[in-house]
């Protein structure tokens, strides 16, 4: 073999996801073995490789079919949107059906498969093919005698394919204890891809694994893949990067009080919102509000329902005053209802992808998210949800998911362990006290905003969801009747307080009046005393004056010696 020059040249398959796993495609100019059980999609994979090569990468291809006629093949892949006849007519594809019927062939001596080489060589030359598929070459063993010759010839064939420099896919049925029945893996050793179709818990899943890729790194996991109307898609569909842009636009939750709790404006556009709660806590009602609000803004909403039928959801939401029917009629709201068990996770994921790409919603609601758990194991579900969330974020679609928390498990536990993927997480819980079950609501987290840390009572009324303050008393959080009682007690206490204040004020008034009356009385008393005293003083002064005058008059009458008045006294 030629020494490998890094990097190994690769031919993209054009199959969604496969090129990512193989780091660019199949080894250019070398044969690749695709093996698996009957019905696992070998032929389709090979055909898509050729069709994509012819249509996207300007590499015409030859399909040598040993099992199906050209017409059958064309019919089979027409459902995937491949128009083989048009490609054949355009000289981009050759389908050569090799018919072998053991009973019609008599072996009379030595032979070789030069006819096959000539045929393939001619087909390759006629359109300048760069890609070749042999499907399924092992049929030769059933159709021709002498396996020894066949083995030698196949070895020669694969070497010849390499010499021709065509990128080839050779398919082979899985055998017992080996990858293929005839041990083709011994001859084709550059790249081996194994397909598998298995059923677990009644749900079938197709898987792909790159068993071997000489001279190249490759994803070694088993990757689920689906065959749908666009061909094969190996998951991951999206490259799981963190390259999406974050919007600062806000979207209302449809409940004013909730918007107020979310820093006054609601969720971020393109964020992922999770509502978790036990059964019957009103998760779907929250979703209904969100949907109705979005439709009211003229945005399209896609509602994936996995537990209830659309009409049941609409009836139930109607009972709490959320009427979705007009939005459905207007084409703003679309329901997609399916049981999670109806198909494997990959099928769900791709159908959701398709529905989203077709409907182009601004908001996607999935109710409930964890119903998938019944259809697969946790790791697979997480991987699937990761892909879905990633897809939604890349498309700036706001995702609103509900998650049913099993009774008894932690509040912040999600079955699929997806909490880290969620931007805003609302928790609904049932509080049982005083012979009642009431609902409480709080925001567990909401990235990028100063959200409220308060618990609210969550009421489902005929006018929709209402959020009320709750009382935290010595006996815990009060809700329902207890809250009403508390409210009544509060009102009574307030009334009593008001009375008390009024009484105090009256008393004060009274005191002041009394005081002033007393002051007035004292003043009056004093005035009287003052007047009396002044009169007395006046009288004394008058008497004094009288006495003086009388003394002067007496002296005058005695003609007393004025200067000796004082000295003449003894």
């Amino acid at each position: 073999m030629n020494p490998e020059k890094p990097p190994l040249p690769k031919s993209p398959t054009g199959i969604q996801g496969l090129d990512e796993i193989t780091g660019g495609g199949l080894p250019t100019g070398r044969p690749t073995l695709v093996c698996g059980d009957a019905g696992c999609g070998k032929t389709l994979l090979a055909m898509e490789f050729l069709v994509r090569g012819a249509t996207r990468f300007d590499e015409p291809g030859v399909f040598m079919a040993f099992e199906e006629t050209g017409a059958e093949l064309a019919q089979n892949v027409a459902s995937l949107g491949f128009d083989l006849d048009a490609l054949i007519a355009a000289g981009r594809l050759v389908v050569d059906y090799v018919y072998i019927e053991r009973s019609e062939i008599e072996e009379t001596g030595e032979f070789d498969l030069e006819g096959l080489f000539v045929r393939l060589g001619y087909a390759i030359d006629s359109i300048g093919a760069r890609r070749v598929v042999l499907d399924t070459v092992e049929t030769l063993f059933a159709g021709l005698p002498n396996p020894l010759i066949l083995r030698a010839e196949l070895r020669r064939l694969f070497r010849w394919l390499k010499e021709r420099g065509v990128t080839a896919i050779i398919t082979g049925e899985r055998g017992a204890g080996s990858l293929t029945r005839q041990g083709l893996e011994e001859y084709v050793s550059d790249c081996v891809i194994m397909l598998d179709h298995r059923v677990k818990d009644l749900i079938s899943t197709r898987r792909l694994r790159v068993v071997k890729y000489r001279g190249s790194t490759h994803g070694t996991n088993e990757y689920p893949f689906v065959i749908d109307s666009d061909g094969i898609a190996v998951l991951p569909i999206t490259s799981l990067g963190l390259g999406h842009s974050a919007s600062t636009e806000r979207v209302s939750s449809g409940i004013p009080r909730l918007d107020a709790m979310l820093a006054g404006a609601g969720f971020y556009r393109g964020s992922s919102i999770l509502v978790s709660g036990t059964a019957g806590t009103g998760k779907t009602s929250l979703a209904g509000h969100f949907a109705a609000a979005a439709c009211g803004r003229g945005e399209r909403v896609l509602f994936f329902a996995f537990e209830e039928s659309p009409s049941q959801i609409m009836r139930n939401l109607g009972s709490v005053g959320i009427d979705l029917a007009p939005w459905v009629d207007k084409g703003l709201l679309q329901f997609q209802a399916a049981r999670p068990t109806v198909a494997g996770l990959e099928i769900h994921l791709t159908t959701m992808h398709k529905a989203i790409l077709e409907f182009r919603p601004r908001i996607v609601i999935i109710d409930p998210l964890n119903s998938f758990i019944s259809g697969g194991n946790e790791i697979e579900v997480k991987a699937m949800l990761l892909r879905l969330l990633d897809f939604l974020k890349m498309n700036q679609i706001t995702g609103f998911f509900t998650n049913l928390t099993a009774g008894g498990s932690a509040l912040d536990h999600t079955d699929a362990a997806i909490s880290s993927l969620i931007d805003s997480w609302l928790v609904l819980l049932a509080i049982e006290s005083g012979g009642e079950r009431n609902r409480a609501f709080s925001i567990l987290k909401s990235r990028g905003m100063a959200h409220s840390n308060q618990t609210r009572e969550f009421l489902l009324t005929a006018q929709g969801v209402e959020l009320r303050d709750v009382y935290v008393g010595p006996g815990g959080v009060l809700t329902g009747s207890a809250r009403l009682t508390q409210e009544a007690q509060d009102a009574a206490a307030q009334l009593a307080r008001r009375h008390e204040i009024a009484r105090g004020q009256r008393e004060l008034e009274h005191g002041r009046a009394t005081l002033e009356a007393q002051i007035a009385a004292l003043r009056t008393e004093f005035a009287i005393q003052e007047a009396d005293t002044l009169a007395l003083i006046e009288r004394h002064r008058a008497q004094e004056a009288q006495l003086e005058k009388e003394r002067a008059d007496m002296a005058a009458s005695r003609k007393a010696d004025t200067p000796d008045t004082d000295g003449g006294q003894p």
Binding site: E106, E110, G115
Partner: protein, 117 residues
């Protein structure tokens, strides 16, 4: 040209058609193809003298013909007439098998002879 009745292989004694059209597909002048042609010529002279026509097709010169007659193995002898079309692969060195393949020997008896062998 009359088509032989169905089940002709079980009645090899029936009158064979006038002309047998045989095509031998080869790919170049390889020892195997030369052997095959020699064997074919010999068998035809022995069993179909004057009633056969051999066409040798070299696929290296006419590769497009490989597809039409569903040729994989080389050499391949195709009995185009009388119908039905029969295919015989290999260098035709096993004469008995060639005769069986051409319906010149009854299949049932041939099987018993091969079993004896």
């Amino acid at each position: 040209m009359t088509t032989p009745p169905t089940g002709v292989q079980t009645h090899p004694d029936q009158d064979p058609p006038d002309i047998w059209t045989l095509r031998l597909y080869v790919a170049g002048q390889t020892p195997k193809s030369i052997t095959a042609f020699g064997n074919l010529k010999r068998i035809c002279e022995e069993h179909l003298q004057g009633r056969y026509q051999i066409e040798v097709i070299d696929l290296l010169e006419h590769p497009q013909l490989a597809r039409g007659d569903q040729i994989l193995a080389i050499p391949t002898l195709v009995r185009r007439l009388p119908e039905p079309v029969r295919k015989i692969i290999g260098d035709l060195s096993n004469t008995e098998r060639v005769l069986i393949g051409l319906d010149l020997l009854p299949r049932a008896s041939a099987r018993s002879t091969t079993d004896v062998n």
